[in-house]
Symmetry: C2
Subunit: 214 residues, 2 copies
């Protein structure tokens, strides 16, 4: 009788332990898949005030004719960029959007390490923010090849990739039909991290001396 009772207790104990491990494993897998960001943003974005993203304490009633407190594709994009804590690597064909430039300058003032790789021709066009970034002391390299550096991607803290069809211009954000993917999938992020390092190395700092200025 005692032996049978022991069988039951031991069996139940083993089953209980096994189910607990299974549950822990499932919770861990679920948490991991929840943690990985996979988002898509489409443009054109609704035009709205983004001042509250730069100055969260500012009341919504400040003087501005645009709608306030509206969540748009662009405000979400700004938040993803501003989430950078340690580094931001930008590989951009065209960069003339002043709000995006402001976000990069804000991160720079917070001590985030920023590297900007851009197309030589487009860095010199009217309205380009590349000169503004350079003047602020941000490390900028222009692609030295004869072809277009047509990428439009950013890597936040070496772990989050922001990429798509969207050039960092006002027209792309407010007018064109565009897309942006935000992902933390290592299989997608790591090749971009590697490619950025390769391109950064190819266009070394020596050429900064004769690069385009604003």
């Amino acid at each position: 009788m005692v032996a049978m009772w022991t069988v039951k207790v031991v069996s139940l104990g083993v089953v209980g332990l096994s189910l607990s491990l299974e549950l822990l494993f499932w919770l861990f897998s679920r948490r991991r898949s929840e943690r990985v960001t996979n988002k898509v943003l489409f443009f054109p974005s609704k035009v709205a005030c983004v001042e509250h993203i730069f100055s969260p304490t500012l009341p919504h009633s400040h003087v501005c004719s645009l709608p306030h407190g509206v969540d748009t594709s662009f405000s979400r994009l700004l938040r993803y960029i501003l989430s950078a804590c340690s580094s931001l690597d930008l590989c951009l064909f065209s960069f003339s959007n002043m709000d995006l430039s402001r976000a990069v300058l804000l991160l720079h003032s917070r001590g985030v390490t920023i590297r900007v790789l851009t197309d030589r021709v487009y860095s010199a066009i009217s309205g380009s923010q590349i000169g503004v970034l350079r003047k602020a002391g941000i490390c900028v390299r222009c692609d030295v090849s004869a072809v277009h550096m047509h990428h439009k991607f950013a890597v936040v803290d070496g772990r989050m990739l922001i990429t798509g069809s969207l050039n960092w211009t006002l027209t792309a954000v407010q007018s064109n039909m565009e897309n942006i993917i935000i992902t933390e999938e290592p299989d997608l992020v790591q090749p971009f991290v590697k490619e950025f390092c390769r391109l950064w190395g190819l266009n070394d700092s020596a050429q900064d001396l004769n690069s385009v200025t604003d």
Copy 2:
């Protein structure tokens, strides 16, 4: 003595069953994560012959001055597109690459349902393949808005997304620095499927009648 032996057998049985379930669960999870494609291709692609992708039985020695049997970013991109079994939805700013056009025509001849949504202005430029696709009977719609339809994405069989900075042109493939992501992550694919349907609906077939021809 018999009771103790029974305890051991039952306990071992439960542990064995539990471990087997754990192993099956792990194999299933692994297989699932392996099945999901997450790839990145960078361009410019090495220039190589892609004839073997269209005609797999053709010997590599056929008359052509380009390197043969080389695996390039472009040959991989072609293979992903040609993997379509039932449908291919294209949302492209510019489409002038003849090999990509040939791949789409081949899929059309195999009975794959193809829908092409493109930018009105760029569909009319010299070298555009849009007229060729139309003539072959492929359903093409041009974006009717005043802004640019700047997307460069494809959805294969409603489950695989091909997107990035790369326009479907020869310059983008062979010269520029570009990227393409290939993913089956539902969180990334489904928004593009939905956006394609939305844009396709916005630019309904009525406007096909007065659209640009080659």
